[in-house]
């Protein structure tokens, strides 16, 4: 693995709400090497999507803002730039070209009024100045790449004529048309049937092998992680609570929240069997922190079976557990 492609440092994102200022991301550090897949895992409201949207600078202006930190991105030309402070024009030049994104909702993320082919080729026409004819050929080529049958005919179709799985393939084709170095996939399989989910994961893995892009894979489902990730970062309440190589997260999680997530995922894959988990599913008690009223100290303490009085005194720091494995828990040594 070469140097870091994306290096997020101490990212803070705030939203203005009627109930007050909401801090959705509270100092997140993340890095991805070229060609690597990092899974960012957490429940709804953990700040994982906000982190990914911040990287694209797609947080709606006037509602939310990046209040602190850096998002360092190494461009194709080798220069490292801080995306947080990049002028809008330059950021638009990176979006869709070097960093691309696939969204959760394939049913609504395509423009209903435009043909599939035109939507796929749009970024290539914009960033590479492709002509009408070349763009058409590229769209068909991309449809082939994402395994859509009859690509010439599908290029002329409208989104409503395709199924959800097909549309997500189209979204992937749209994202990859300029051969980005980083693909952000924000829950790309969540809205799909489980059989289709697996197909999409297999497709993403194959495309990564062929094209070599890095993937930031956002999900709430640790079962999906085993299929795709090299490394896993678990978010809770706007902070990273644990990060480790994929196998270690699945076999030796050190944070109670990670353990809770693992226990709540129905899994039949080999990684789960290797972890020796054949017991019944367990839900994590309680609900996500209210971001407007975070608890004192560790965000997870109110739901945590391991919590002690000291846990509510201060936010625990991210401690090194092993090489490339960190956990934000005072009692990680006891959790085996």
């Amino acid at each position: 693995m070469s140097a870091k492609l994306l290096d997020i440092r101490d990212l803070v994102v705030e939203f203005r709400t009627e109930a007050g200022l909401l801090r959705a991301v509270k100092g997140v550090d993340l890095s991805i090497a070229a060609g690597e897949t990092l899974a960012l895992v957490g429940e709804s409201g953990s700040g994982k999507s906000v982190t990914s949207l911040s990287t694209m600078r797609l947080i709606p202006e006037g509602v939310g803002r990046i209040a602190g930190g850096e998002i360092l991105f190494r461009g194709r030309d080798g220069t490292v730039r801080d995306l947080v402070h990049l002028p809008g024009r330059e950021m638009a030049g990176i979006r869709g070209s070097e960093i691309a994104m696939v969204f959760q909702e394939p049913m609504t993320s395509l423009n209903p009024a435009h043909r599939i082919g035109a939507q796929i080729a749009e970024a290539a026409r914009l960033h590479e100045g492709l002509g009408r004819k070349a763009a058409r050929a590229r769209a068909v080529e991309m449809l082939k790449l994402v395994d859509i049958p009859e690509p010439e005919r599908r290029a002329e179709a409208y989104p409503h004529q395709l199924s959800g799985g097909m549309r997500q393939r189209v979204m992937i084709a749209i994202a990859l048309v300029c051969n980005p170095t980083l693909l952000i996939a924000d829950e790309p399989t969540t809205a799909l049937d489980s059989t289709v989910q697996l197909q999409i994961l297999v497709l993403l893995r194959r495309l990564q092998d062929e094209l070599g892009m890095a993937i930031l894979f956002i999900t709430h489902n640790l079962g999906v992680v085993a299929e795709i990730a090299d490394r896993v970062a678990v978010m809770y309440g706007g902070r990273i609570v644990e990060d480790a190589p994929m196998a270690e997260i699945l076999t030796a999680p050190r944070h109670p929240y990670t353990r809770g997530l693992l226990a709540s995922v129905p899994r039949t894959d080999h990684a789960a069997r290797a972890a020796g988990r054949r017991d019944r599913l367990q839900a994590i008690p309680g609900s996500m922190v209210d971001p407007l009223k975070p608890p004192p100290g560790c965000d997870f303490a109110p739901r945590c079976a391991w919590a002690q009085e000291a846990c509510t005194a201060a936010v625990p720091v991210l401690e090194g557990v092993a090489s490339g494995h960190h956990a934000r828990c005072r009692r990680w040594r006891e959790i085996v």
Binding site: S97, N111, H114, Y158, H160
Partner: protein, 317 residues
């Protein structure tokens, strides 16, 4: 959406128009008074003469018979004679249609050209000072009665300042292009003001709805900037709900801006309607209202076609 759909819609309009004509005919004849009342106080018109006229126009027939007679003539293109002027209804309408189309067409075109950017900009900058100003202006435009703003303009620009002619289509003995344009300014302003106000609201709300859609985020994620996102991805989808309103308004104004034409003495359909109403000119009123009804029915069909052109889901669904 296909040719067969279009033919089905057009055929479906025929019974609808029959129904409309029956209702209109009944209502007109329910109104008190009649076309010959203007002669009632005229000493030089004798009672016998009135009876004779009544018989000649068929006004002494029972209303259902009158309706059947009118209808059977109407469907073969004979719209009857105006009781007030004695001239063919169709000729009178055609004569007045030109000025109305001129006034209405310019007003609608102007309204569309201004309402579109106003609606789009206030949606894109929702909550900004600009949006608030446009919103305030729109509500003022919708709320101001047309007769009042028309009279106010006349007072200011014709009477106080003397810049613009107060009424008519052209000055007597003139009729040059500049003279005609000067006569157009105030009626066009009055007529387009309310339309701009209401259209810009429809376009704004359609635009706000669309700008919150996921595919707009997709467009930004491709690297598009705001102007391109709006022009290429949002506008077409945002226009869909506004299409019906624009189509119907267009017909309403083409079929006569009654108040505006009356205040500015504009020789159009609207004023013809008021004159005919005062004289209870049954054939003329029926002709005018049937023309308006056909217009509204056609506008609905055109709106449906426009939907299909804008939205492939309707086209293929």
């Amino acid at each position: 959406m296909s040719l067969s759909f279009l033919i089905r819609r057009l055929l479906g309009a025929i019974p609808l128009l029959f129904g409309i004509s029956l209702v209109l005919f009944t209502i007109i004849h329910l109104a008190p008074g009649g076309p010959l009342d203007v002669y009632a106080d005229n000493p030089s018109v004798s009672a016998e003469a009135l009876d004779q006229i009544r018989a000649r126009y068929g006004l002494d027939d029972p209303v259902p018979i009158q309706y059947v007679k009118w209808l059977s003539a109407m469907v073969v293109g004979d719209w009857g004679l105006s009781i007030r002027t004695g001239r063919p209804v169709l000729d009178e309408i055609v004569l007045r249609l030109g000025p109305t189309l001129l006034l209405g067409g310019i007003s609608m075109a102007l309204a569309f050209c201004l309402a579109l950017p106003l609606g789009v900009i206030s949606a894109a900058r929702r909550g900004s000072r600009l949006d608030e100003a446009v919103t305030l202006g729109a509500f003022a435009g919708i709320s101001l009665p047309v007769f009042w703003s028309a009279l106010l303009l006349q007072l200011i620009f014709s009477i106080w300042l003397g810049w613009l002619p107060s009424a008519g289509m052209k000055s007597v003995g003139d009729g040059s292009l500049s003279d005609r344009l000067l006569h157009l300014i105030m009626p066009v302003t009055v007529l387009s003001l309310a339309t701009i106000a209401s259209w810009s609201r429809y376009i704004r709300s359609g635009m706000i709805d669309v700008l919150g859609q996921d595919y707009i985020r997709t467009a930004y994620a491709k690297g598009r900037r705001e102007t391109a996102v709006i022009a290429l991805h949002a506008l077409r989808n945002a226009m869909i709900p506004a299409v019906t309103v624009i189509a119907i308004d267009f017909v309403t104004i083409i079929s006569g801006a009654v108040i505006t034409e009356t205040v500015f003495a504009w020789p159009g359909i609207g004023r013809l309607f008021i004159e005919s109403m005062n004289g209870r000119d049954y054939p003329m009123l029926m002709g005018l209202m049937m023309m308006g009804s056909v217009g509204v029915v056609l506008a609905n069909i055109i709106a449906d076609l426009a939907y299909a052109a804008l939205d492939p889901r309707i086209r293929h669904g």
